[in-house]
């Protein structure tokens, strides 16, 4: 089964390599991986998507926790969270298809971020299904290039207002 795992790590050189080395060394797979600084510049947040049965996911989480530079590991799968992915899509836009491409951008609430006489570059944000849907619809028109970010994910604020994500960030104390 597919799991979205959010990992809070020290923002230090070599940490990414410790994480990716752990996955390759132990034969775990990574479908996508995203890293960026958090509010606290001494920590980074990684969102990684991986696949495995319960025993493997349990090992992945334990092994991540064991790394000295890992502050917190959270398996988002099964909890309430929002996920997004962005894709930049360079698509052919000749006279016959320019309008169609723009309609598509409009329907999917994307944006045109670069224009040339024969192409558009689109920015599409959404969950994986939406991105896939856009790609499927644009493919017949002619996709020249795609760059995707992979998933980022964040927990939802509970009805009672408790923000579990924020509480976690507070765990980072120097």
């Amino acid at each position: 089964m597919r799991h979205v795992i959010s990992v809070l790590v020290d923002n230090e050189p070599g940490v990414l390599s410790r994480i990716s080395g752990l996955f390759s060394g132990r034969g775990f797979n990574i479908e996508s991986l995203n890293v960026a600084e958090t509010l606290d510049p001494s920590a980074s947040r990684m969102t990684l998507v991986t696949r495995g049965n319960d025993q493997i996911i349990e090992q992945i989480i334990k092994q991540l926790n064991k790394l000295v530079n890992v502050i917190k590991v959270l398996d988002l799968t099964g909890s309430d969270y929002v996920e997004r992915e962005m894709a930049l899509i360079k698509v052919t836009a000749e006279a016959t298809s320019r309008a169609e491409v723009l309609r598509m951008v409009d329907i999917f609430r994307g944006r045109v971020v670069d224009v040339s006489p024969k192409s558009y570059t689109l920015e599409i944000t959404g969950d994986e299904k939406k991105i896939q849907a856009v790609i499927n619809l644009l493919a017949p028109i002619g996709i020249m290039e795609i760059v995707r970010t992979g998933k980022v994910a964040i927990t939802r604020v509970k009805k009672d207002g408790a923000n579990s994500g924020e509480a976690r960030e507070k765990d980072i104390e120097p």
């Binding site: 790590v9 020290d10 923002n11 230090e12 070599g14 390599s17 410790r18 080395g21 752990l22 060394g25 001494s42 025993q55 349990e58 090992q59 334990k62 092994q63 926790n65 064991k66 000295v68 530079n69 890992v70 502050i71 765990d171 980072i172 104390e173 120097p174």
Partner: protein, 580 residues
């Protein structure tokens, strides 16, 4: 980013060079011995060491691998953190096997490596290697110190990480310019790392459940590993076994954690375990794993491992739990602390007549011991098992409990595990996880440095001994009276055994056609060489070796065709043992 300001810890503030800070930190950590080999990148550290000869003893090895194994033997035999210092590039890469060995067996080490100056890092400079990158997967953690201001805190963290939680090797890479640079120095007295908090206390609810399960078990078995020795929990383990009348089997790493002379002891389990231990683990109804990690050499075919038991697993490392074998009651915590809590909870349990309750189980266990005890056939030439039995007998007679046995890897190691009786923790020092040939001799040197008064004996094979034989010079130079008992079968015995059993006796490259004369070689190094070629010479040779207060190499010319039995072929179930 480092988490604490090094100046926050108090103490006097003085300007010192990186090299001085390093040595001052070592002193404050209580380090009095380091094992090392100099080179260009660590020149200033070695220069500084000269000023501290009274406080820090440096043992000059002959190969960096030897330095790490010696520090490892020092650490395992004493429980202290072993320290070594090597230069950049090849010095560091030579240390990798030693580091990986310590990592697999959870040995607390701090390895300092020299590095090229920071402005040259990444330039393919002379003797440059990305040792932090190379050792990332075989250290508990590692550091590259880029600023002398971070040095004291990094060293503090390194020692803290090495000795706490599940211990392990930490590497600290020290660029040459950082060692020459100066900084204020004060050593942080306390350490807090936001992302590192090992669990020591077991969960009270889990401990209660475990005790209840043990209390009603009909056929319980304790399976104890190296974790018991690392956490100094032998006393508690023994108390638990005796209190509840539970038989005990040890992993290779666990030997010595439980008295081998106890009637409750079944010997080692696993691939070359005793018939008794493997049958017991297969038929028990409750298996209590303490500080062991269900290694493939222990479990054999995982699906058939202890199929009828409910399993309790006590380990400080959560990743060890349910990694290979699913357990019913996991308890994350330090073995000593958890066992203590269990003993306390037991007091609250209604007392039962445990010996009577387990009588049936013991009858069965004793039967297995009688069906197929450890054995070998005597012959006209020396049997390796006989040598080990003699070493066991005579060492005990002369040295009592004041001895340390190290082994190399292969048949010599397995026969030692089978035929030597270990009664105290830290008396067997062996490379279990990585199985590093060439480990035993330098480890013996380290153990002898830590315990000058004890008899330290490396039970070796001729193959393994040759892998770090250069350390004879180290033993002679520092007057370390290490004894090496070479079980010389003129071949790579364990591989040959596998070829005999699984390759239809096609002996591919396992016979040494050229062998050094170990007696002459020992003499060339300034050590003593002795040889035995007939069974009746074994005892006098060993007695003579023990009486000499110098390094001695004993060349026991043994039967080449002898195999280690019982043996569970790789991937087979524990009950599918090949017996003598």
């Amino acid at each position: 980013m480092l988490n604490t300001d090094p100046r926050a810890g108090g103490g006097k503030i003085l300007k010192k060079t990186g090299a001085e800070i390093l040595i001052e930190c070592l002193k404050l950590e209580g380090v009095d011995t380091i094992f090392g080999f100099p080179g260009g990148a660590v020149l200033s550290i070695y220069d500084t060491l000269l000023k501290y000869t009274e406080e820090i003893r440096h043992i000059l090895v002959r190969h960096e691998q030897g330095a790490v194994h010696a520090a490892d033997g020092y650490a395992r035999s004493s429980g202290k953190v072993g320290v070594c210092l090597v230069t950049s590039g090849p010095g560091a890469t030579n240390a990798v096997t030693g580091i990986a060995t310590a990592y697999m067996d959870s040995v607390p080490l701090v390895v300092f490596t020299g590095q090229v100056p920071t402005m040259l890092i990444g330039n393919d400079a002379f003797q440059e290697a990305d040792i932090v990158g190379i050792t990332r997967p075989c250290t508990k953690h590692n550091y590259l110190v880029k600023d002398v201001k971070d040095l004291a805190l990094v060293i503090k963290q390194a020692f803290h990480l090495a000795r706490t939680g599940r211990p392990g090797p930490i590497l600290v890479d020290l660029p040459k310019d950082v060692m020459a640079d100066t900084s204020d120095f004060s050593y942080p007295s306390k350490i807090k790392m936001r992302s590192y908090n090992p669990t020591y206390q077991g969960h009270p609810g889990q401990i209660k459940r475990a005790v209840k399960l043990i209390a009603k078990a009909q056929k319980p078995l304790i399976y104890a590993g190296g974790g018991v020795i690392l956490s100094n929990a032998s006393k508690e383990l023994t108390a638990l076994a005796q209190k509840f009348t539970i038989p005990v089997t040890n992993t290779l790493m666990g030997l010595g954690s439980f008295p081998g002379t106890s009637p409750l002891f079944l010997g080692m389990l696993g691939m070359h375990g005793t018939f008794q231990a493997n049958m017991a683990v297969t038929h028990c109804d409750v298996l209590i794993a303490v500080g062991a990690r269900f290694d493939d050499r222990v479990t054999g075919k995982v699906e058939n491992f202890s199929p009828h038991s409910q399993k309790i697993h006590i380990d400080i490392d959560p990743t060890s739990i349910s990694k290979n074998v699913l357990v019913d009651i996991p308890i994350v915590g330090d073995a000593k602390s958890v066992l203590k809590s269990m003993l306390k909870v037991i007091e609250e349990e209604p007392a039962q007549d445990w010996p009577r309750m387990r009588a049936e189980w013991f009858k069965k266990v004793t039967e297995w011991a009688q069906t197929s005890p450890l054995n070998y056939k005597s012959g006209p030439c020396i049997k390796p098992q006989f040598v080990i039995k003699k070493i066991n007998e005579i060492t005990r007679e002369i040295n009592g409990d004041e001895f340390i046995i190290t082994t190399e890897v292969g048949q010599n190691q397995m026969w030692t595990a089978q035929f030597f009786t270990f009664t105290k923790p830290r008396t067997l020092i062996t490379s279990g996880g990585l199985g590093t040939m060439g480990y035993g001799f330098p480890a013996a040197i380290g153990a002898q440095v830590a315990h000058p008064g004890k008899a330290v004996i490396d039970i070796a094979g001729d193959g393994s001994f040759q892998m770090n034989i250069q350390e004879l010079a180290t033993a002679v130079q520092y007057k370390l009276p290490v004894k090496v008992a070479v079980l010389n079968n003129h071949c790579l015995g364990m591989v040959r055994q596998w070829q005999q059993l699984f390759c239809d006796q096609r002996y591919s490259h396992t016979i040494f056609e050229v062998m050094p004369d170990f007696v002459k070689l020992a003499e060339a190094y300034g050590a003593v060489g002795l040889r035995a070629t007939r069974p009746e010479e074994v005892e006098p040779v060993f007695r003579e070796a023990l009486s000499i207060h110098r390094p001695v190499v004993m060349d026991f010319v043994v039967d080449r065709d002898e195999c280690v039995y019982p043996m569970v072929p790789a991937g087979a179930a524990l009950t599918e043992m090949l017996l003598v």
